[in-house]
């Protein structure tokens, strides 16, 4: 497979500034808390005082002045008191069982936030408390004893070959356990939503979200209104990272229920403390492997238990676990694979979507273990990976064929060469005594499935539209109508670039209005690194359709039926060389036909086959590939360590906008650095201990290492322009690369995330490498 040339595209591949940049640097962009709706009341949530128990009664403090307060309890819910996500096991408002600390028991609204908060604090709650299961560690302890004692939320297996017997034939078998903790998305704009009840009975939801079509229809059942009476519109989104995928349905529901009750607009903006305590996090994970290798480094068999702490309810956990198990043995050749994925309940807020969606947890363990396997075979980590990595034509753990656009092994080879891995590997300290600073270098290599997992895209059939309309100033404009949201990652720029390229016009003639379910078809949620690939390619084909229609209109009405082509903003007649600008031809079309909409729908290539029940086939239509190398320095006096340099290559398919793509990689890697070694949430007394930005510490401008970052381009050519997604891959591999580098530096291996000086100290003490 040769790398495709970019030459065919004019606008795609240009690093044009984001279309919303001017609004963002001038403070004009409107986020949920910025728009003013007259007569708005403020909402607050009455929360459960225990993590597990039975609600016996809920009453209001008669001493409080309730005259200016509206209250919603489960009895006020017109439809079903169910959040319609997977499992359908979560109520909007708890009425009987309490499954996590802070679960809503009632909602209140008042003309001021102050009064609403006070009212929420004036309820008397009588509960019968029960023992809660709170942490991953407690959950794993029970699992080891007897999994049947846990409340199972989801399970799935992958079987290929015969792992159990192949393990017996292996020269060496390693059994290892790894864990990873919670991670908070910590978008800088907290969750925020407004619900406005309109006169015609429409409920208008406006706010910060990733997926407008999750909220509609999820709320229809609860509000008991038909889908056409629920309008959902996105405001500017101040970061999301998965944290505004499923969660906004809850806050939208709280606002809408209060709006129904009060017949007024209701606003809820979480403060940072509530946001951290009562929104989704990355699932804590426990990975248990038994892997058999031959002395020559061949991987004979992989057995893996991948267990996620789901929190209190099912929500999206099954799909997070699916993506986890699909990445837990990915990247390398092996004929015998057996993976068991599980999600169990704990009594914490339901864990949910976060950039990478299960893959970072799986790859944290798997890529750490790859280094351990290499060492067990007496091989270097680079040689072991080069020997085993998947190539075009190989098959994945689910038997999917890697047909084409496979960036492996090129990303691996290029990264190794670029950072001079082999030489630097020789210089690692390996815990040598007598040195003040230890040096280490470490590596990770991985694939990230592009688009929805399994049959998701086939079922979703993403729809898009392009509208040729007239701007306020009278000039024609092509509006991209999709439900894919702009949350900082660049949707609102790359999709217009794709549309412009397909049409043969400049991006100045294309716009991306904020998604509004009354105006856009359902393009699916803005998740899974799917927007550039799936929605982008559908926009491309819609653009081609619109171009053909405009060309034939101009041909017939202006060019006497000559073949006409729209290129570089000009309609050109083939025979007599006449040409007119795009705006003129488009204006003529609008004058004679009025606004013009083109629809299109995503279709997977026929060869993509997936058996959802048995998890066999092409789990993803294509993969992005990445290789990360981290170099670390350990202070042997304090056990503090820092990453001095990161070298990385990514194959994300066709690069639509190199500046934005690099921004995703840089930001994703720094978020991954936080996951690897800074961001820590423990649970004390049922509650996250780091519940403010002061205690939940994320990377600042002085924490990042030097970064040497590159792309290789293996476009997915079954759908033009062939992007494979860049949002998540940068989150996948840095943690294991750092752990591997730490081992090369210190001689000890850390198997729990986050990697901290305390843990390093413990391991060094245990291994008696600290002699001072």
């Amino acid at each position: 497979m040769t790398v495709q040339e970019r030459g065919a595209y004019r606008v795609i591949g240009q690093g044009i500034p984001r279309l919303d940049a001017a609004d963002k640097v001038s403070g004009k962009a409107e986020y949920a808390d910025d728009f003013h709706v007259p007569d708005t009341w403020y909402g607050a949530v009455v929360r459960a005082p225990v993590a597990c128990g039975k609600l016996k009664s809920l009453s209001r403090d008669p001493a409080f002045d309730w005259s200016q307060v509206a209250v919603v309890t489960p009895e006020d819910i017109p439809g079903n008191n169910i959040v319609d996500m997977m499992g359908r096991d979560m109520p909007f408002i708890a009425h009987d069982e309490i499954q996590y600390l802070g679960e809503p028991l009632a909602l209140v609204a008042a003309p001021s936030l102050h009064v609403a908060k006070q009212a929420a604090a004036h309820f008397k709650v009588d509960v019968e408390e029960r023992p809660a299961l709170l942490t991953l560690q407690e959950m794993v302890a029970v699992y080891k004893e007897d999994p049947a004692k846990l409340h199972k939320l989801s399970g799935q297996t992958i079987r290929k070959g015969d792992a159990a017997s192949a393990l017996k034939d292996a020269d060496i078998v390693l059994e290892r356990e790894y864990t990873a903790g919670h991670q908070e998305q910590l978008y800088i704009e907290p969750q925020g939503m407004v619900a406005i009840p309109e006169r015609d009975g429409t409920m208008f939801i406006h706010g910060s979200m990733q997926c407008p079509y999750y909220i509609n229809p999820e709320l229809c059942e609860t509000l008991d209104i038909p889908p056409e009476k629920l309008r959902v519109k996105q405001s500017a989104v101040g970061g999301a990272f998965g944290g505004k995928e499923e969660f906004p349905t809850l806050i939208a529901g709280y606002c809408a229920l209060l709006a129904l009750k009060t017949k007024r607009p209701i606003k809820m903006i979480y403060d940072r403390n509530q946001d951290i305590l009562y929104s989704t996090k990355r699932h804590p994970s426990w990975s248990h492997y038994r892997v058999g290798v031959m002395k020559d480094g061949t991987i004979r068999a992989i057995e893996c238990d991948f267990v996620l702490d789901g929190g209190a309810y099912t929500t999206l956990s099954p799909v997070v676990m699916y993506r986890g198990i699909l990445h837990a043995a990915m990247g390398y050749r092996c004929e015998n694979v057996s993976i068991d994925g599980h999600v169990y309940r704990t009594n914490t807020f339901p864990n949910g979507a976060f950039r990478g969606f299960g893959a970072p947890q799986a790859l944290w363990a798997w890529e750490s273990l790859i280094d351990e396997l290499a060492a067990a075979c007496g091989m270097t980590p680079d040689a072991f990976r080069l020997k085993n990595c998947l190539h075009e034509g190989d098959v994945t753990p689910t038997g999917g064929l890697l047909r084409d656009s496979v960036g492996s092994p090129e990303v691996l080879e290029k990264t190794l060469e670029r950072c001079q891995f082999a030489e630097k590997w020789q210089q690692c300290s390996r815990g040598k005594s007598g040195e003040r600073l230890w040096y280490g270098i470490g590596l990770s290599f991985f694939a990230h499935g592009s688009g929805f997992t399994g049959d998701g895209e086939a079922r979703m059939k993403s729809k898009v539209a392009l509208d040729l309309e007239t701007r306020a100033d009278g000039t024609p404009i092509v509006n991209v109508r999709v439900s894919s949201t702009e949350m900082g990652q660049g949707t609102g720029t790359i999709l217009p670039q794709v549309a412009a390229d397909a049409l043969g016009i400049d991006v100045t003639h294309v716009d991306y209005p904020m998604p509004d379910t009354f105006k856009v078809p359902d393009s699916g949620p803005t998740v899974a690194s799917r927007t550039a690939m799936v929605v982008g390619s559908t926009i491309y084909s819609a653009g081609q359709k619109m171009k053909a229609d405009l060309e034939s209109f101009v041909s017939e009405t202006l060019f006497d039926g000559q073949p006409t082509e729209l290129v570089e903003n000009q309609f050109r007649a083939e025979y007599d060389n006449r040409s007119i600008p795009f705006v003129e031809g488009a204006a003529a079309y609008l004058a004679s036909h009025g606004p013009f909409r083109v629809y299109d729908q995503f279709k997977l290539p026929d060869y993509v086959k997936w058996d959802q029940e048995n998890f066999v086939g092409d789990a993803y239509p294509a993969y992005a590939w990445g290789c990360n190398v981290a170099e670390v320095e350990v202070d042997t006096l304090t056990c503090e360590f820092r990453v001095t340099k990161v070298t990385a290559f990514f194959d994300i398919g066709r690069i639509l906008n190199p500046v934005l793509a690099m921004g995703q990689v840089q930001g994703g890697l720094i978020q991954a650095l936080g996951y690897a070694m800074m961001e820590k949430l423990a649970i004390k007394a049922g509650k996250y201990d780091a519940d403010r930005m002061q205690t939940y510490v994320i990377p600042t401008s002085v924490d990042g290492p030097e970064m040497d970052l590159h792309f290789v381009e293996y476009p997915w050519d079954h759908c033009q322009p062939g992007a494979k997604g860049v949002g998540e891959a940068p989150m996948d591999g840095l943690a294991p690369a750092i752990a591997n580098a730490l081992e090369a530096a210190s001689g000890v291996r850390l198997r729990d995330l986050p990697l901290t000086p305390e843990r390093l100290f413990e391991e060094l003490s245990r291994s008696q490498r600290l002699t001072a």
Binding site: G15, V25, S26, G238, G239, G488, G663, G667, G668, T700
Partner: protein, 161 residues
């Protein structure tokens, strides 16, 4: 109780009558409808609410209105485009792709403006240090630093100390 203050906000003289303990952030966002300044944490940790008072950057979520002296000069993100340096910075942020979701940017770019007004440095370490109180979850900071370096190179002579 309310206090009376006259402030020069983004070059305009504004009179305000506010409770002295009201957060200056709320005075800006709600009383004066200057919604560009953002609240990311409300407790002095994120920097999204950064504004300049008498030449110094302050966190408006931690500042009481009464602490802003009478006659003080205040610059918020809305005021940047009225200055040469502010325009240079905005153009550099746009060109380098320094904004993603944009929520940290009002505070970030105000910090950049305060830094370059005092010291139009292109030194990455100094720039990083001066922005360590402005948290950005999207960009990883590299493009922000590049933008500030580029603005420093073009920093208008008349704006230099």
């Amino acid at each position: 109780m309310k206090i009376k203050r006259t402030w020069i906000i983004n070059g305009e003289k504004l009179e305000a009558e506010v409770p002295p303990m009201r957060r200056f952030l709320d005075v800006l966002r709600e009383d004066l409808q200057l919604k560009g300044t953002k609240e990311g944490c409300g407790e002095g940790e994120c920097g999204a609410c950064t504004v300049i008072v008498n030449g110094e950057t302050v966190l408006s979520c931690l500042l009481a209105a009464g602490q802003v002296p009478d006659g003080a000069t205040v610059t918020t993100v809305e005021g940047l485009e009225k200055t040469l340096g502010g325009k240079v910075l905005q153009a550099a942020y746009i060109e380098k792709g320094a904004a993603q979701c944009g929520f940290c940017i009002p505070g970030m770019i105000v910090s950049s403006y305060a830094l370059l007004s005092r010291n139009p440095t292109t030194d990455a370490a100094q720039i990083r240090e001066a922005h360590a109180g402005n948290i950005c979850r999207c960009t990883g900071y590299d493009k922000i630093v590049e933008a500030i370096q580029s603005a420093a190179e073009q920093w208008p002579v008349e704006a230099k100390g």
